[in-house]
Amino acid sequence: MGRTLADLAPDEEGTVASVEGDDSLSHRLAELGFTAGAHVRFIRTAPLGDPIQVGIRGFELAVRAREARRVVLV
């Protein structure tokens, strides 16, 4: 498996290749705009280490690192 959203460094950007899995989490991520070609940005980690703050399609989202690992980057 390639690099994922969780592997980015703070303030680093990437492009979505795919979202792993076929369950309600992967569907919700897709609905929120995590589709192939979308730009994502890792903003920062929460003070206690998890979740992380990410940017996608002009808005920001909190996701746990475990979920961010589902977002595979190009």
Binding site: S24, H27, R44, L61
Partner: protein, 745 residues
Amino acid sequence: MVTATTDPAPQFAGATQDLILGGPENPFVVAVLGNPNTGKTTLFNALTGLKQRTGNYAGVTVDSAIGSFVNGEHNFMLVDLPGSYSLTPRAPDEVVAVRALIGSGATARPHVVLCLVDATNLDRNLFMLTQVLEAGLPVVVALTMVDVAKREGISIDYRTLSKRLGAPVIPIHASKRQGITQLKEAIDTASSSGSVPSQSVGLPDQIAAEVDVLQSLLENGTAETKSLRTRFLAHRILMDRDGYLSNALGDAVPAKARAAAAEARQRLSSAGHAIPGAEIDRRYAWIADLVNVTVDRAGAARFVWTRRIDAIVTHKFWGVLLFLISMGVVFQAIFTWAGPFMDLIDTLVGAVGSGVGSVLPGGAFRSLIVDGVIGGTGAVLVFVPQIAILFALITLMEDSGYMARAAFLMDRVMAGFGLSGRSFIPLLSSFACAVPGIMSARSIEDRRDRLTTIVIAPLMSCSARLPVYVLFIAAFIPNRTVAGVLGLQGVTLFAMYLVGIVVAPLVAWVLKKTRLKGPDVPFLMELPPYKIPSWRVVLFRVYDRSWAFVRRAGTVILATAIVIWALSYYPTQPEVQARYDMARAATQDEVEIDRLDRAEAAEKLRGSFLGRAGITIEPLVKPLGWDWRIGMATIASFPAREVVIAALGTIYSLGDGQDESSPELRATMQAATWPDGRPIFTPAVAISVMVFFALCSQCAATLATMRRETGSWAAPVFTFVYMTTLAYIAALLVYQIGSRLPAIT
């Protein structure tokens, strides 16, 4: 002309009826929906002003704000549906919008859908709009946050956008009330014409063919043929891979249709159209084209302020410090800012009570009005300022965007006992009142997380527990300092709040390890841009919740107070009366008469229904260090815990109408003794009572809300049993251990 009618359901769209559609008796119904954080509440307020109420909209068992406005000759009823990201629901609050658009049984479909689209966040907002356009209903698009978008360098070609969507697009600046007139006009036109959007994303042929099949299956044996409604329903059912929507709609989706949808998904998946992935990709591709021709993002500088603020608010050190300070401010505010207002209400209630008491003739009726009605409800109205302040602060945190950051910060902590940051908001709200706290758990997608949150929410010390703490601490905890700086009374109060804060995670942890065991739930939460909170939104919420509380005081609590009064007043004991009358006649001493009055009241109380019951249950509460009077006051306050103040007042032979700051009740309790002369209340007993109240489930409204929100009695019954058991055991331990420690007895 409008003619008289007996039609009980006048809002049915298209039904023949005597009432003119759009007339005052039969308004056009407008469903208002959009993504969360699009300024929906602000726009709703701008459209309807104060002409709104919280209510249940036709069959939807969720409180939606319902408002109205008039445009020219037409009347409109607006229904505010919960914010949602898509019409493929996965949480109870997301079902509400879809159910309203589909309509079923007694639920009328709206005449128009007003869909909000945030101009600063077009892609994701347009995603749900493309689904809404397919509902087969007239749609009006309100483009919100256009001012912010402009500032951020985003320019939008509204005309082209409107043409491509096949629906009117009205730019809005709700807080400055710009665009509201045009929006009302557009809603009016759409309602009158009834024309549905002319454009749609369109489905790949194979998916469209499956929707056709499913639609005819749904229409089989009904009056509908090729209706836009069933087409929309068929489409949504096909996309509903987890069956969440079908289950929520129940009979509206026959088992045959569910099975057919599952088979169709199989076929589509093997043909390379994974459901719902294929549809989602199609929509975003369509949106990309649309945005390409209508939006210019050249030079866009996004979230400048939000990023700067977040750098501090979610900072490893400053963020945590700020979080602790804000929680501190919330609690400080409830305890201190409310004080003067509470005193004021208190004085007013007292004045009304003695005013009314002086004009009424003595006897049962005066006692009922003064002690039962005025005293009972007055003791409760005193908490309105605390409720108002708490709701104001919580709404400020929500509306500014801070609440989402607090949840972001707390997620790791919540994960430690099996929940997520999503549960933080309902739990924090529960410090004000568990009822809105439990209701706000609707946004939690996972059923187990949601149930766990609902079941532990009442452990948070709500504002109704505060007066109990205040009364007992002021009376029985010495006012001295510990560790040099901290007041012992303040520390005790804080400790009472800690009881719930410590026990709730333990209960959650146990539940998530046992009955509600399941895979870890994902945590996904939008962090909306910060904004200056709208004072209208805050004031309306404060007004709405405070008024709800006052209404409750006027119904449930009033009824309980009257029952307690009756049980402690009856049966009348003329022989006791006669005996004391004789004793009183034999003396001139005022003090002695006063003593006789009190002794008489105490004796009558022991002989009352309440007293007899109390003496029966005394063995049960004695191990907690309580006498029968505390026991009865506690039992009386099971419907609503704040009743205990009024109950103690009555029971401690003072007459009703005591409140927690009344020195008289405090003094009587301090002086109360067991038959052998030992004082009843020691610090150990006081703490035992407080711990009991901290943990016990004493709120009928909370249990009823749980029943409504979870759809079964299992959660409220479980909550009642576990909380009451925990409360008893904890109070027992506190007293048994506490009374053996020489320091606090």
